[in-house]
């Protein structure tokens, strides 16, 4: 496991406002100071200082960018496919639809697995959120949201609640109850409030905290019980479309992707962006960590999926083919990280060999865009949701 995730975090009085908060380094006239995230925000938005012009800022940014590229290039000594040459090739690969879940009356937009490896929650354009036992294909719960386009949904780690949101700009948590006469909507709790649509949400390691991403360009961490905003993450220049939490036990990071073509890695404690990658040619629709937490993959509207190594701090692989023209909407790794499953807007799912960079298989079946794709918690299957109103389990 990678020790790089043990980020040193400083607590203490901010050098500017003196409040006790998590701090991060800032540089003023070559001096390093420690600011809290609020003061960092203020510094970013303040006007021109002495001897500064728009042009001078631009050239400073560009020269720093050049320096960063230099530093990265110094350690770029080998390519992934070269290291992977000695790895055994994969054998024959057959995957078929094993279950088809029908019941949504409109486009399926998002889905998530329960930790019990068989239940899933899915949400759709007409506002319906359904919890299924996908093994038996029975619907166990259903709730209708007061908004359409429910683009995000998540299962709580305990399996006792679900979270969802979309055009209502909120993330709401519904406890799951098995009592016959209980109305699920009655116990609903509104947790997150953004100023624009909710595009993604995820529980952290417990039922008590939720991480959200929104069209308003920010991500945020919320306390479920009180609805309090614990930390906000600013930096994307456009709508944020996806996020994923790092799997590591001690890692406190997550990655987000947006319409500004950037994938950004954040420290959950300080709100700081610790790494940023801008190599895609179009919107990033989906990001997912490699199972070890040392890398992540992204799926983009530019029809490519890419792998970014966090320790080497660069893009290390591109998964693309000239015949794959339509954007990738959703990606996920198999349990060992050897396979990358990607759902595309041309209704297909492509399976990639992560290490060798080649496409292993193409799966047909859906009759409209594949909008969401997740591998089950124990890696026995993956589920794809589509605009054709159905979800399919493949194994």
């Amino acid at each position: 496991m990678c020790d790089q995730t043990f980020l040193a975090i400083v607590f203490g009085p901010c050098d500017k406002c003196s409040k006790e908060k998590p701090l991060r380094p800032v540089y003023i006239k070559s001096e390093q100071l420690s600011y809290c995230s609020l003061c960092v925000e203020m510094m970013a938005t303040e006007g021109l200082r002495e001897n500064e012009t728009l042009a001078s800022l631009k050239s400073e940014a560009e020269s720093l960018k050049g320096k960063l590229e230099e530093e990265r290039a110094k350690l770029h000594d080998v390519e992934l496919h070269q290291v992977a040459e000695r790895v055994e090739a994969l054998g024959q690969f057959v995957m078929k639809t094993r279950r088809t879940l029908k019941g949504h009356g409109n486009k399926v937009l998002c889905m998530d697995w329960c930790k019990d490896k068989r239940r899933i929650v899915s949400s759709s354009q007409d506002g319906k959120v359904i919890v299924w036992d996908s093994f038996t294909t029975n619907k166990e719960h259903a709730v209708t949201m007061p908004c359409t386009w429910v683009m995000a949904c998540a299962y709580a780690p305990s399996g006792c609640a679900i979270a969802c949101g979309g055009l209502d700009n909120k993330c709401s948590v519904y406890p799951l109850t098995f009592e016959k006469n209980e109305n699920m909507a009655a116990k609903k709790k509104s947790v997150a409030m953004h100023t624009n649509y909710l595009s993604a949400c995820s529980f952290t390691n417990s039922d008590m905290q939720i991480l959200t991403a929104s069209g308003d360009g920010t991500c945020a961490l919320w306390d479920v019980e009180s609805g309090q905003l614990l930390q906000s993450f600013h930096g994307h220049g456009a709508d944020v479309l996806c996020l994923d939490l790092a799997p590591s036990e001690t890692g406190n990071t997550f990655v987000s992707g947006g319409c500004d073509k950037k994938a950004m890695v954040w420290d959950m404690r300080s709100g700081q962006c610790i790494q940023s990658f801008e190599t895609h040619d179009s919107d990033i629709n989906s990001v997912r960590y490699y199972p070890s937490g040392d890398a992540f993959a992204s799926g983009s509207d530019d029809a490519t999926c890419r792998l970014y190594d966090l320790r080497a701090d660069r893009e290390v692989a591109i998964y693309s083919k000239e015949s794959i023209i339509f954007g990738a909407s959703s990606v996920d790794f198999s349990l060992s990280g050897r396979l990358l499953f990607a759902g595309y807007n041309d209704y297909t799912i492509n399976v990639w060999d992560v290490l060798k960079g080649s496409r292993v298989s193409i799966l047909f079946g859906h009759e409209n865009r594949v909008s969401t794709l997740r591998v089950s918690p124990d890696g026995t299957a993956f589920c794809s949701g589509s605009w054709d109103h159905t979800l399919r389990i493949w194994a």
Partner: protein, 400 residues
């Protein structure tokens, strides 16, 4: 109250990178040297130039992109659905048939555009023109659209009717072949942009975006400042050689290959394939006897051990034997503090201090002086992450 569309300033169509790629292929397909060989066909009494058969299209795609015929047919079918190629004999059936059915390339004027959707006014003119040509020719759904547009853009209606008449007159003066071609092109365009009921609307793209993808927001002061701040801290970051980190990724995947059910199968069987859930029963969270594969995973790295509830249980027993059980309990208490209820942070932190950290505490844990110092200082203003340093120290200790 159902919120169907809150206007919160979302206005912009998303980037559609695939459009340019299809256009490039379309140009190639029509290129005199490398493209498809076209032929002149006689349809009804008009002779139509530049027609191609469905099979020609399929073969060209197969050969050009080096893919299977299933993929080529699927891709070609999408080209037809998006209106880049239209069928001549069954105009309303936007699918690619791998036989002698005839198709033509749509003129670039009628290609889908990222920047805007097909205009209501243009559609009204088209329908009005159709109506003028032969009264009662409009289909049901077209009649509905027509009436709806009449209400929606009523203030422009004189203009619409005038334009329709003009276009109809101009059309009559054209040669029969040209008129026929234009009619086909227009019809195909509107089939794609105003889909009839029962047909899939391929141009639907979901929700509008908040920021304009065609506008470059990078030239603001704030954007530059943020960039500078990011680069400054990124340059100083420690990086690892590619050979080392990539080696790590490969090693991880090799190590877990046998545990990956999709690649290596699972015993007794994959429940999704055989409908037998025994695999799940054998691997239940706190099962009496964990399977051999599961126990092997615990040896891979410490994270695997502590993440698996059964593994953690066994580890706790082991620690008890070594008289250091409080380390794991402390770690679990810290996790609870980090991810638990925000309102209880203060009291939880205090409890943890009393139980594990205070001098003479009942379950005192052994951490070094510096870490203890930072922790005690932080506890004066309890925060969710105040015990991070101590937790990390204990985690590393347990790892050994």
């Amino acid at each position: 109250m159902t919120v169907t569309r809150l206007d919160q300033g979302q206005r912009y169509r998303p980037r559609m990178a695939f459009l340019k790629k299809i256009e490039a292929l379309m140009m190639e397909m029509q290129s005199p040297d490398t493209g498809i060989k076209t032929q002149t066909q006689t349809v009804m009494v008009a002779s139509i130039p530049h027609a191609v058969t469905g099979n020609d299209i399929l073969q060209w795609i197969l050969q050009r992109l080096q893919i299977t015929s299933e993929e080529a047919l699927h891709l070609g079918d999408l080209f037809v659905k998006y209106g880049y190629i239209y069928p001549l004999q069954e105009p309303k059936n936007l699918t690619l048939k791998a036989d002698g059915s005839l198709y033509r390339f749509q003129t670039p004027y009628f290609w889908p555009v990222q920047g805007w959707a097909a205009d209501d006014t243009d559609y009204a003119i088209y329908l009005a023109k159709k109506n003028i040509k032969r009264k009662g020719i409009l289909e049901e759904y077209e009649k509905e659209h027509y009436n709806m547009l009449n209400q929606k853009i009523n203030y422009k209606w004189d203009f619409v009717i005038m334009q329709a008449k003009e276009q109809y007159k101009a059309g009559k003066e054209r040669k029969k072949e040209d008129r026929y071609a234009l009619d086909c092109q227009e019809r195909a365009y509107w089939l794609v942009n105003r889909t009839p009921p029962g047909m899939q609307d391929v141009l639907e793209y979901g929700v509008d975006r908040v920021t304009d993808p065609n506008e470059n927001k990078k030239n603001t002061m704030e954007a530059y400042r943020r960039e500078i701040m990011y680069y400054q801290q990124a340059i100083g970051k420690t990086r690892v050689k590619s050979s080392v980190s990539l080696g790590g990724l490969v090693k991880y995947s090799e190590q877990f290959l046998s545990n990956d059910p999709i690649l290596s199968g699972c015993l007794p069987s994959n429940p999704w394939i055989t409908d037998d859930p025994e695999f799940w029963d054998l691997n239940a969270k706190l099962v009496e006897v964990p399977t051999r594969m599961r126990v092997e995973r615990w040896a891979f790295n410490f994270s695997e051990l502590i993440r698996d509830p059964k593994g953690r249980q066994n580890f706790q027993l082991f620690l008890k034997k070594e008289f250091s059980g409080e380390n794991l309990s402390f770690w679990e208490a810290c996790e609870d503090l980090k991810y638990g209820d925000q309102s209880k942070v203060k009291e939880k932190a205090e409890e943890i201090y009393k139980l594990f950290l205070a001098p003479g505490a009942r379950r005192w844990i052994n951490i070094d002086g510096t870490t203890m110092g930072i922790t005690v200082k932080g506890l004066k203003h309890p925060h969710r992450y105040v015990l991070d340093a101590a937790q990390t120290h204990i985690y590393m200790l347990m790892k050994k």
